[in-house]
């Protein structure tokens, strides 16, 4: 059943369309994803927590939801905006259609709007706070709800919402290295890729202390991606500082930013973020270009990398830092997602290479 729905941006721009499934009012940052496939992965990507996600590709839901592609046990976005949802999806792996799944997952969704017009606003204005209302009663509250939300800090607490609360052990085969994953909102694909490469994983809450981590006696540490501003996690940064030099460490996305902060660099908020599967990144050591999957609103300021950190990767579109390594310690990090899901697998080899250095 379709009902009235709208997206209201903090600058007053409003898009009226139809709502899908679940009557609710969602508050979040309005951002856009440029991938043409991978909506299931994106909607369940913990890094989108607290965000109202717009799909630039106009036809979403063509192949339904398989469950197998999900990156988290539930949808993580605050709300979703699409031009059109396929009314008759078709795929052999489909378990449920997207509209029904969004209702089931309680994701307020707006369809039928001019998404390109919205993306143009976001590009020009930058990421902006927004309210998405589905149903008459939510629509009546849309303005009164957005005003106070737009004034407050919005990213605190996002990681806590999607990250694991308890240590999870992921067994692997024949005595590979034991890797602690500091979970700030890890994707299933990272766990899948690392364990497929033979690593034994302990997925630990982002707030785990140095002692708790040491108690696990890991061989190495991976700091996961996750939502929001890395400076919202000062304790995690402190923990990482304490661990520098103790273990080989590898950071991905938010993990890259946290490691950079722990080493003394600074981060900043990108005008409208990188979210999609077509970001060209130059590997400065190999001289090769990788097409990579991105999902981040903040970036490491490459100019602030301390002398012991060396930039290894740079974004060819806007020149932002995409990776670094420590000159003397076994520490490296990338801003993009080697695990893809959604997106291309050009950088998948990084996990394997890093694991190889452990043995």
């Amino acid at each position: 059943m379709r009902k009235p729905a709208a997206l209201l941006l903090a600058d007053g721009t409003r898009f009226d369309g139809e709502g899908i499934g679940y009557d609710a009012l969602a508050l979040g940052e309005a951002v856009f994803y440029t991938g043409m496939t991978g909506y299931e992965e994106a909607l369940t990507d913990p890094s989108y927590a607290g965000q109202i996600l717009t799909f630039t590709y106009p036809l979403v839901g063509n192949y339904g939801i398989s469950g197998a592609a999900s990156q988290h046990e539930r949808a993580c976005v605050a709300g979703a905006v699409m031009k059109r949802i396929a009314p008759h999806p078709s795929h052999h792996a489909m378990k449920i259609d997207l509209s029904s799944w969004l209702a089931e997952q309680r994701v307020p969704t707006l369809v039928g709007i001019d998404t390109r017009a919205l993306v143009t606003v976001l590009r020009e204005h930058g990421t902006i706070r927004a309210a998405l209302a589905v149903g008459e009663s939510a629509l009546a509250r849309i303005e009164s709800a957005l005003v106070p939300y737009a004034r407050q800090t919005t990213t605190v607490g996002l990681v806590a919402d999607v990250a694991t609360r308890h240590v999870r052990n992921v067994a692997a085969g024949n005595g590979g290295p034991h890797v602690v994953v500091i979970d700030c909102g890890v994707k299933r694909a990272i766990v899948r890729d690392l364990s497929a490469l033979g690593a034994r994983l302990s997925v630990m809450p982002y707030a785990a202390t140095r002692e708790e981590i040491l108690a696990r006696e890991p061989d190495a540490i991976v700091i996961s991606p996750g939502p929001g501003d890395p400076t919202d996690l000062p304790e995690t940064i402190e923990t990482l500082k304490g661990l520098l030099g103790d273990f080989p460490m590898f950071g991905v996305c938010l993990g890259h930013q946290l490691l950079a902060l722990a080493c003394g660099a600074t981060t900043f908020k990108l005008p409208y973020g990188h979210r999609g599967g077509n970001q060209p990144v130059k590997d400065l050591q190999r001289g090769a270009v990788l097409v990579t999957a991105h999902n981040h609103g903040y970036a490491v300021d490459g100019a602030t990398l301390p002398s012991e950190l060396e930039a290894t990767m740079v974004n060819l579109n806007d020149g932002t830092n995409e990776g670094f390594r420590h000159r003397s310690l076994p520490i490296s990090a990338v801003q993009f997602h080697p695990e893809a899901s959604p997106g291309p697998f050009d950088a998948r080899y990084l996990f394997a290479e890093w694991l190889a250095t452990l043995s």
Binding site: T37, L59, K83, H88, G277, P280
Partner: protein
């Protein structure tokens, strides 16, 4: 980032570029588009470009595009001679289609590349050979772990049969080294296998074919990839064929990007693409075709093309990413991160475009002209062109592509297919034909469930459901449309006219307006919003985007600062309206820009130069229909519309656009009407005292017969609406007239049959520009074949070889007076016939024609620019092109048509008033005979070297009674050249009586071995089967078709045979560039040298 990338400069060298030659099915305008981008990219990098292409209708052979242009045959011998003269440093072979690749391989094998130290740019020769050699390719794929279908590479039919006995049927036959799947096909029985494999082996350059297990019914997915020398790879685009494996991708409805693939599948095939392109060491563009199982995660690699292709042209236009341009820069050694993305200006070429719209391509087939052709689609391509639609939804893109085919179909239902019975629908759905889309729509309309159609067609239910939504909307519009339905129809790209037809109302405009008012149309979200194609889904601002219409969305059109003029394009390439009109549109756009105006192009053909992003100031990628032209005109604030360059498609808009208040510049509606309305045209000619073949319009068969009796047979008959001579025929007696009327469209007073006296004389053609005062005639063409063969199918010669200066002056004078009488302002094309000393007018069209590109290149008179400037109000006297008849060149050019009969099963090859050729070549030489010789060679006729004594080969001759007297003279010349003549009874006796040696051969009815066996075994080298007279559906037809199947040249006119023997008797001069010819022409004019 400047810090990340060091941009290197490329050293200046001279680079030889091989074009793809004449337009044939499977190799068309896409290579002009790619070639032009390549040449421009090379020059951008400071290279000296030497271009060889025999196709004169292309933009790439204009002297502005390359430093040196050779309009010479594309053969290894001809290229060898050019290389010897020009000594280029490098060769770029990957932009001239299969022709370019095959020639590069030939030159390599012949040692030419090595002898002259030519570096091969881009993809190495080993890769080209590997991708083409079926056996090596299969082995290479298996080595890198990529799955390919089980197959056997065979060099003879028996091995194929043995393999088939192991694997069972169906199987696919794929000959190596052919284009557009020539000679291939799906076979379901041993009989079919024997037949198709024999033909396929014959078509293969290396007598090799692959027989493979069929993946019929799997999804067909294509990836367009680029790789540079540093091993950086990007995917430009992927595409999904709605027609599953089994239909050639050129004949499939193709959607970009894929719609039914999950991200895992998309990335699986992406990773496989990279794996393949790396293993093959491709440097530049590459196309990979996959079959993806519809029910499980399993794929096979079907084919790899390590070059730019029709698919890469489509991918470029679908995404905005100029593949040919970037490929060229890669070939020069640049890497993707060094090259900028010219559409955004801010990103790099190392970037994978992302779309926020859907693209649908539908092929345009020539079956409307060939009712007897086999219309079933398979692995051998049959379409001549394609139309592309861009929309924010699949439905909108599909509707635009359907409308853009220019078949008079504006909707999915309610077409002629609606009259079919269930069996007919089922047939077209299970054994696909060009009507499958419409048969599916009609079946859905009749309530056939999607599941049943999916099962019958193997088409994914996703597409059928989407199609079903359009069908339901059309049905609602027919029944009780709500205001919302009208709005949805407008969003989906239906035209005003089609919505009016569906809603069966004359109040179309008011309904249309009502709909928009009802939906609260605002200023920002207009009914005619233009959206950008920007490669980036709006993530980055775009510098040189192009546009499509998306109604009721936000308008992004950037109104040009300068006065805008709209150039209306000609839509998909079809027989009768080909690349030459695209040439004129491009030259018009450039002329407008030179004249300080902003050029706005409206066209929907993804293959062409006119839809390249930087040809115009504003490109509107939409079907050139009245709604779209008007919208472009309004949105750009244009001051006028030029229709004269987009062929009949554009001209046909004159009345409607005038009604809507759109200003047409140049010749306007009145002028078009006067030329097309027979009564008005006759009256105009009468006023001028100019004759035309006597004739009248008949509104019944009786009347037609009476007129024919009065005029005397033979007569030329045709329906009153004509494009490319469609439905036109010469009939010699009443019986033929009756059978013509039976098969032609019904005669009514509203659509009469035109009956003209047929005058068999010398046909002449001029292209001219008239400004109201002066006329400019750059040249007069003489046709080699006497009147009766469509001008597009006849060999034509410039400068005239037969008519004298006096007659030429008379032609110029008549041209001027007709142009004046028709109120022409700009281009006019007039065809004459000279019959017993008297000059008659056949027809006049106030537009550019097929010969415009040729005469412009050859004489150096930029005819399109002159016509454009006249339309803008300038006078010829103020331009540098002169007035009156341009002095003749001291060299001769001969245009020879090229046919694609091998791709059109069942089609009668006799030439007549209905055009059948798909392309053309130009022979250029000092002498007429030399130009003929080069032209025939360029057209692919095997011309033996007559300077060496010895036997030339055998010619199978069969001559009709009417032509016997003329035939003897021609055949005697063949015999004198050393050819052995072979003939059946009648002709054999005629030859013997006239003292010409002849070998008798059995007619078909005499039993084997007969003529067909001789042709099939290629024991004859040429067939002359003169076809004047009654339509021969029996022996003559079978002989001509057999010749086509066996790739033996077959001439159906004695005039053509006469021209060929003239070419055989002579030799041609060495290759010379167009620039050299032009310089010689200028010198001769300067010194007043008489020809």
């Amino acid at each position: 980032m400047a810090g990340a990338v060091t941009v290197r400069t490329v050293p200046r060298r001279s680079v030889l570029v091989i074009g793809s030659g004449p337009i044939v099915i499977g190799q068309a305008a896409e290579f002009d588009y790619a070639g032009v981008q390549a040449c421009r990219a090379l020059r951008e990098e400071g290279q000296r470009v030497i271009l060889v292409n025999s196709n004169p209708a292309t933009i790439m052979t204009d002297p502005e595009i390359a430093d040196v242009v050779y309009l010479e045959p594309l053969t290894a011998a001809s290229l060898d001679a050019i290389i010897a003269r020009e000594r280029p440093d490098a060769l770029l072979p990957t932009l001239g289609g299969q022709t370019g690749l095959n020639l590069a391989v030939e030159l390599h094998e012949a040692g030419t590349l090595e002898r002259y130290g030519l570096e091969l740019l881009g993809t190495p020769i080993e890769t080209i050979k590997l991708a083409e050699d079926r056996a090596q390719f299969k082995e290479a794929m298996l080595r890198i772990g990529e799955p390919v279908p089980a197959s056997a590479v065979v060099n003879d039919v028996e091995s194929g049969v043995r393999f088939a006995n192991e694997l069972g049927y169906p199987l696919v036959v794929r000959p190596a080294y052919t284009l557009g799947g020539t000679g291939g096909g799906v076979v379901r029985s041993e009989n079919e296998l024997r037949h198709i494999l024999a033909a396929g082996l014959g078509a293969s350059l290396i007598n090799q074919a692959l027989v493979e297990t069929s993946l019929l019914g799997w999804k067909e997915i294509e990836y367009e990839i680029l790789r540079d020398r540093a091993d950086n790879c990007i995917i430009v685009c992927n595409m999904e064929n709605i027609d599953p494996v089994g239909v050639h991708t050129g004949d499939s409805i193709v959607v970009a990007p894929s719609q039914t693939l999950s991200d895992q599948e998309y990335q699986l095939l992406r990773s496989a693409s990279l794996n393949v392109i790396r293993a093959l060491n491709v440097q530049g563009g590459c196309n990979i075709q996959f079959a993806l199982h519809p029910e499980r995660t399993e794929y096979n690699i079907i084919e790899v093309n390590p070059r730019v292709s029709r698919s890469s042209a489509l991918a470029s236009k679908a995404t905005g990413y100029p593949i040919a341009k970037i490929s060229t820069k890669i070939a020069l050694g640049k890497t993707l991160d060094e090259i900028e993305n010219p559409v955004t200006g801010v990103t790099k070429a190392a970037y994978e475009p992302t779309l926020d719209y859907v693209v649908v391509k539908i092929p345009r087939w020539p079956f409307d002209k060939f009712p007897r052709a086999d219309t079933r689609l398979g692995t051998q391509m049959k379409s001549t062109g394609e139309a592309m639609g861009i929309g924010r939804t699949f439905g909108a893109a599909l509707v635009k592509a359907v409308r853009g085919l220019d078949l008079g179909r504006e909707t999915l239902t309610g077409t002629s297919v609606a009259l079919w019975n269930e069996d007919q629908l089922d047939d077209a759905i299970t054994a696909p034909t060009h009507e499958r889309l419409f048969a599916l729509a009609e079946s859905l309309r009749r309530g056939v469930p999607v599941a049943a159609l999916a099962k019958a067609s193997a088409i994914d239910p996703f597409w059928l459901n989407e199609l079903g939504e359009l069908v339901e909307l059309e049905e609602r519009l027919r029944a009780q449309p709500a205001g919302h339905d009208l709005r949805v129809a407008a969003e989906l790209g239906y035209s005003q006219a089609s919505i009016a037809r569906l809603t069966d109302t004359n109040r179309n405009v008011s309904l249309w307006n009502q709909a928009s008012h009802a939906e609260g149309e605002g200023q920002g979200a207009g009914r005619n919003a233009f959206r950008m194609v920007d490669t980036a889904a709006a993530e980055f601002p775009a510098r040189s985007p192009y546009y499509y219409l998306s109604r009721y969305e936000q308008d992004e059109m950037r109104r040009p600062a300068r006065e805008a003029i709209v150039v209306v394009g000609s839509g998909p390439i079809r027989i009768g309206q080909g690349i030459e009109f695209d040439y004129s549109c491009v030259r018009a756009a450039w002329a407008l820009r030179e004249a300080g105006r902003a050029a706005v192009v409206v066209n929907n053909n993804p293959e062409t130069v006119s839809t390249d992003f930087d040809v115009s100031d504003v490109l509107v990628f939409e079907p050139p229909g009245p709604d779209e032209v008007q919208a472009a005109y309004d949105a750009t604030g244009a001051s006028g519309v030029l229709l004269a360059f987009g062929g009949q498609t554009a001209i046909n808009l004159a009345a409607e656009l005038t009604k809507r208040g759109v200003r047409i510049i140049g010749s306007d509606r009145k002028s078009v009407d006067m030329a097309e309305d027979r009564r008005k045209f006759d009256a105009a000619l009468a006023r001028l005292g100019v004759a035309r073949p006597e004739g009248r319009a008949a509104s019944s068969f009786r009347q037609a017969r009476a007129i024919a009796r009065e005029l005397g047979f033979p007569v030329l008959v045709r329906p009153s609406y004509v494009l490319g001579g469609r439905g036109m025929e010469i009939v010699y007696n009443e019986g033929q007239l009756a059978s013509y009327v039976e098969t032609a469209p019904p005669i009514t007073p509203g659509a009469p049959l035109l009956v003209d006296k047929y005058l068999r004389g010398l046909e002449l053609e001029v292209d001219a520009v008239y400004d109201g005062q002066d006329v400019l005639v750059p040249g007069i063409f003489e046709h080699v074949e006497r009147a009766g063969i469509h001008s597009g199918d006849s060999i034509s010669v410039y400068p005239p070889q037969i008519i004298d200066a006096l007659m030429q002056a008379r032609i110029v004078e008549i041209t001027r007076s007709i142009a004046h009488e028709l109120q022409t302002r700009g281009s006019i094309n007039i065809q004459f016939v000279l019959h017993e000393g008297e000059l008659y007018i056949i027809e006049a069209n106030p537009r550019a024609s097929r010969t415009v590109p040729i005469i412009s290149k050859v004489t150096g008179v930029n005819l399109v620019a002159a016509a454009t400037r006249v339309a803008l109000g300038e006078k010829l006297r103020d331009m540098p092109y002169g007035t009156g008849l341009t002095p003749a060149t001291p060299f001769v050019v001969v245009k020879i048509p090229v046919f694609s009969f091998a791709k059109m099963h069942g089609v009668e090859t006799i030439l007549g008033p209905e055009m059948k050729s798909t392309g053309e070549v130009l022979g250029v030489d000092q002498t007429f005979a030399g130009a003929l010789r080069k032209g025939f060679i360029a057209a692919g006729v095997r011309v033996p070297d007559t300077s060496v004594p010895g036997k030339r080969g055998r010619i199978l001759v069969s001559i009709s009674d009417q032509e016997k007297a003329d035939a003897i003279a021609v055949l005697r010349r063949y015999a004198a050249c050393g050819f052995a003549l072979v003939a059946t009874d009648g002709t054999h006796e005629l030859l013997v009586e006239n003292g010409i040696d002849s070998e008798r051969i059995n007619k078909i009815s005499d039993g084997s071995p007969h003529v067909l066996d001789a042709i099939a075994s290629r024991s004859v080298d040429l067939v002359i089967n003169d076809a004047v007279g009654p339509r021969q559906l029996s022996d003559g037809y079978r002989i001509r078709r057999a010749a086509v199947e066996a790739s033996v040249a077959c001439l159906t006119s004695l005039d053509t045979a006469g021209a060929l023997v003239e070419a055989l008797e002579s030799s041609a001069g060495p290759p010379r560039s167009l620039q050299e010819y032009r310089a010689a022409a200028q010198a001769s004019q300067y010194y007043g040298v008489a020809r």
